[in-house]
């Protein structure tokens, strides 16, 4: 089944490359996809969930972050001197499948001031959700807690569109915990 989705994607790319969905293109694309069948990953995206409205919100949220990210980099490039406080922080994310993890890693790299450097995943590549730690390079690191919360907010948006209910509850619990910690730091004035 999941291989079928991959095959559909391959045929779609093939037709887009040729620029038309003619019968000849569809047939030759399908033939090529069949030849490639054994090499396709069998497990595929470890998500069977898709919620259209949150997915739309995720797209909008991502485009806004993308625009802000580029304005931020542009500003950093043209201002004389340097205001960077770079650092690499470890971000334990809520368990989710490899496909969503890769999507989150890409989103982090494309959004403001953050870039995925490395990732540790517990367990095997069996399509199940495992605990994972993302190592993220942050350009303007003022509070590790705040930067971690920003990334978990992004994960929440992603899981709302594609994740299981359990993983959404997990990431929400992590965000609440972080908010409390940030609040208590601000409260004691340190």
């Amino acid at each position: 089944m999941k291989r079928g989705v991959f095959m559909g994607w391959l045929v779609l790319v093939w037709c887009l490359l040729w620029g038309s969905f003619s019968l000849a293109n569809l047939l030759s694309g399908t033939a090529l996809a069949l030849v490639m069948w054994p090499t396709l990953p069998g497990q595929g995206p470890a998500t069977s969930t898709f919620r259209p409205l949150p997915a739309l919100r995720l797209t909008g949220y991502f485009l806004v972050l993308l625009a802000r990210s580029n304005v931020a980099v542009a500003k950093e490039v043209v201002t004389p001197g340097s205001s960077v406080r770079p650092g690499i922080i470890a971000v334990p994310v809520a368990p989710m499948g490899r496909f969503l993890l890769a999507a989150l890693g890409n989103m982090i790299t494309l959004t403001p001031g953050t870039m995925t450097v490395d990732v540790d995943v517990d367990g095997d590549d069996d399509g199940a959700a495992h605990d994972a730690v993302l190592y993220v390079h942050v350009m303007h690191l003022f509070s590790a807690e705040q930067s971690t919360l920003d990334i978990l907010d992004m994960q929440a948006a992603l899981l709302n569109a594609f994740g299981s209910r359990g993983s959404i509850a997990d990431v929400d619990a992590r965000r609440d915990d972080l908010r409390r910690r940030i609040g208590s730091i601000a409260g004691t004035g340190s």
Partner: protein
């Protein structure tokens, strides 16, 4: 000059501007990691704008779908390339900029014995 021409030119110029900024950023930033920020985000954004500008100039035809694919694959692959480069750099032990505040990845990768002897310093604030 039609309104389409104006909009399309604006997109092309904005895209080229972002590519230029990325180049200047590569030159100006301090270490590989900071440079990758400029090299991935601004360039991806710039290519997106240039492709949209080019699409606006076309009257249909097969090339439009190709440009759409260029945008899709640029967004899918640029972060992966940045990830591979920065991971390779990190594993090779290249030094980070002096202004670096904390490196929890290096701390996590230290041998266990060393970590026990010197519990990880928390210097985030």
């Amino acid at each position: 000059m039609s309104i389409i021409d104006v909009v399309s030119s604006a997109f092309l110029l904005i895209g080229a501007g972002f590519a230029l900024l990325a180049g200047i950023g590569l030159q100006r930033f301090d270490d590989v990691f900071s440079r990758m920020h400029a090299a991935t985000k601004a360039v991806t954004f710039g290519i997106g704008f240039v492709c949209i500008g080019a699409i606006l100039q076309m009257d249909g035809g097969p090339d439009i779908t190709k440009l759409v694919l260029v945008i899709v694959f640029q967004f899918a692959t640029a972060p992966v390339a940045a990830h591979m480069v920065s991971r390779a750099v990190q594993r090779a032990g290249t030094e980070m900029a002096d202004s670096t505040i904390v490196d929890e990845l290096a701390q996590a990768r230290r041998p266990a014995a060393e970590q026990a002897a010197d519990p990880r310093p928390n210097q985030t604030r």
